[in-house]
Amino acid sequence: MNKILPGFLALTFVVGLGAFFPSASGAAPKPSGTLTVSAAASLTDVFPVIADAFEKRYPDTEIKFNFAGSSTLMNQVIAGAPVDVIATASESIIQIGVDSELVVRPLRFSKNFLTIAVPLGNPGNISQISDLQQDGLLLGVCDTAVPCGSAAVELFAKNTLEVTAVTRELDVRSVLAKVISGDLDAGIVYVTDVKSAENRVEFVRIPFRENVVTTYPISMVADTREPQLAQRFVNFVRFSTTSQGILRTFGFAKPW
Amino acid sequence: MKIDANFSVTRGDFRLNIDTIFSAGAVTAVLGPNGSGKSTLLRVLAGLQRIDSGEIVFGDQVVNKAPSIHVVPQERSVGVVFQDYALFPHLCVLDNIAFGPRSLGLSRKASQARAQSQLASLGITDLGPRKPNQISGGQAQRVALARALATEPNVLLLDEPLSALDVQTREGVRAELEKQINGFGGCVVFVTHDPLDAMLLADRVIVLEDGSIAQQGTPSELAARPQTDYVATLMGVNLIRGVADQGVLQVDGGGVLSVPQVELRGAALAVLRPEAITLHLLRPEGSARNVWQGRVRALTPMHDRIRVSIDALPPVVATITHSALADLKLSVGTPIWVSAKTLTIEAFEVGAKKELE
């Protein structure tokens, strides 16, 4: 309780602040328009729910989504895709956009942790992370080109594990799908992924001190045609209790 | 080796019904219009098509007995010359001919040697290295025959062996073919829609109409006593149906003919050869008992005479010379008198068959 209270206070403060910004800039009091939001694949389930809440609060707005791997999304922005907001699963990727002045003022809005997804019945008998070193275990990870892959590499290094994966998928959902189908004995995925597939997959918890944290930044794209609305959405995701509450339900951790 | 065939094949609406004997050492022509089933008959004999009932016996070997026995083409000792010859386009002429012996297990060398001797016996040795698309139609016909004979079959089957050829080459190839099949010695069956081929090449003719045998016999028997309009037209004679009694034929559809066969009673056919008919502008006076009137329906020039089709009771076709045409000044619609001597008419019972031997 003593941990939550200061956070809650801080939250109410910044929510108020966030709501204050648009009106301070002297624009139309009633926000309207359409936003295109590029979001990391791991946000596929949660972002539409947040968008619904946003649209309910501002009825004249509409949010469209473009889900893909974080690097793909950044490549699209670099190539000039008409996107208003980008949310990635990697701070280093969003930093590429900041450095080239394509995105502005990124905010960390959530965190995610890794977990070991195993098929129902746990055929590989995995109970802790070191079990991943077994010979002949079919382990799937993401490719290092995508955030869940570099996080997995970091995870193995942090725990000084010698593991060999049999596949390096290009997005985390493919790893999960192959665990669910039983073709993999284990897959390194996000906590939120197993939550989304609750009854079709089991998971083995990785304790906090062994785990690797993934931070999710969200940012307005510099070239957006709707800068006020885009910033309002960014603030909503980061600061509103509604959005943060939804993120929690989907297993995403607090950003602080 | 003779072939004893008594079977039927059904393909959708079409039914082929055959009961005949192909004699050993004889050349049988199967004559019939398109769709009469003659190619199916050949395919059945070759073993390329199964039968639905009956049996077929080659010599003393049962090659088909529905539904259990079906000897495959490979084991029938038949040589087939296909329509359009079906020479293998990717093999040279020599390899086409050597294909059969090689398939029967001869060595490559022996097969080639046999092919060479086949080519030599047909006088086309120089064609050996050519591809089928580099030889003429007449040459292809010979190569196809050589290929069929190279396996030394007991039975030789030919499907329209001359129909792919133009008129000029046809005569020469027909003569050559006659020599070859007469020298073959086994049982020969060939299918044709050309009565001339049948008359010139065959010892015996089977006429197929709508899947069944309309008539069979020697070429001269067919010419003398056609049983159906199709055969009569093929033979170029008038066939008149009627009821005979004491030398008088009451023609079906009208008219009366006096025939010499006074003993004939009941349903009968009369054959009236076109050249035995005389045409007159005025009613003729004379000994001819059969005189009747009609109008010219059509004039068809043949190479040395004119065919005159006449609407009358009974309708007939007559042939006259060009000078006769000039004298009579005939044109379509001209009223005309027809006469025929009784003795030129041959009448016979319906269904009378004269079998060869």
Binding site: S71, L138, A165 | A46, G47, P73, G79, F99, G100, R147
Partner: protein, 263 residues
Amino acid sequence: MRNQRAPLFLLVPGLIALLFLVIPLIALILQTPWEAFPKIISSPQALEALRLSFVVSLAATALAAIFGIPMAWLLAREVLPFTGLLRALVIVPLLLPPVVSGVALLEGLGRRGLVGGFLYDTFGITFPFSTVGVVIATTFVAMPFLVITMEGGFRSLHQRYEDAAATLGASSRRVFFRITMPMVAPAAIAGLVLCWARALGEFGATITFAGNFPGVTQTMPLAVYTALESDRSVAIALSMVLLVVSVGVLVALRGKYLQTRAS
């Protein structure tokens, strides 16, 4: 060149189509990092992917030939009941998005799949995440190209040649290898090339069924896609290699089998 003027209503859309097809390829050539090119394509990962692509595409083409040509014959000769239905089933992988093919393969031959489950439980055999798995996925997607081309070839071959060979005493095996196959050789070559090209470019079914691991299941298209996530110039260089191979095949067979023949 024919002495015919193209009407505008055909000329304009036709030229647009041409530009549409050519511009991306030109862009690819222009964007290729030529200085770094030798280094990129001689990197171990690129060489592995290239080697794997050739091995897999050739193996898939061989499998398609061994099993697909007989199937094409069965369809062409209509010896099986419901040939029309069977033909439609065979063509389905051709129309299916390859990813869906991959999912279907997982359901059928995956470790817990319909047949794959039995194979794993009985013999301990699994296909996903192995090169064999890549070959299976690739064959699944590429074989229909060979089958439909060959079926057309068998159909257009008149039965009388096979009949003639049979009456000459040739066994059905001899008829097939000495008469039928040589006569449909042009269709066979066209079909094999199409099949091989499709196998070389296979991506969706492979990554879905067999996964993505360098040296084992990462073929060229997977390497391109993986590189796209990290280093665009590597992806372009690898794409260039595939483009060169495709154009090379086209040139090698120019006019010979892939052209529509007038005669």
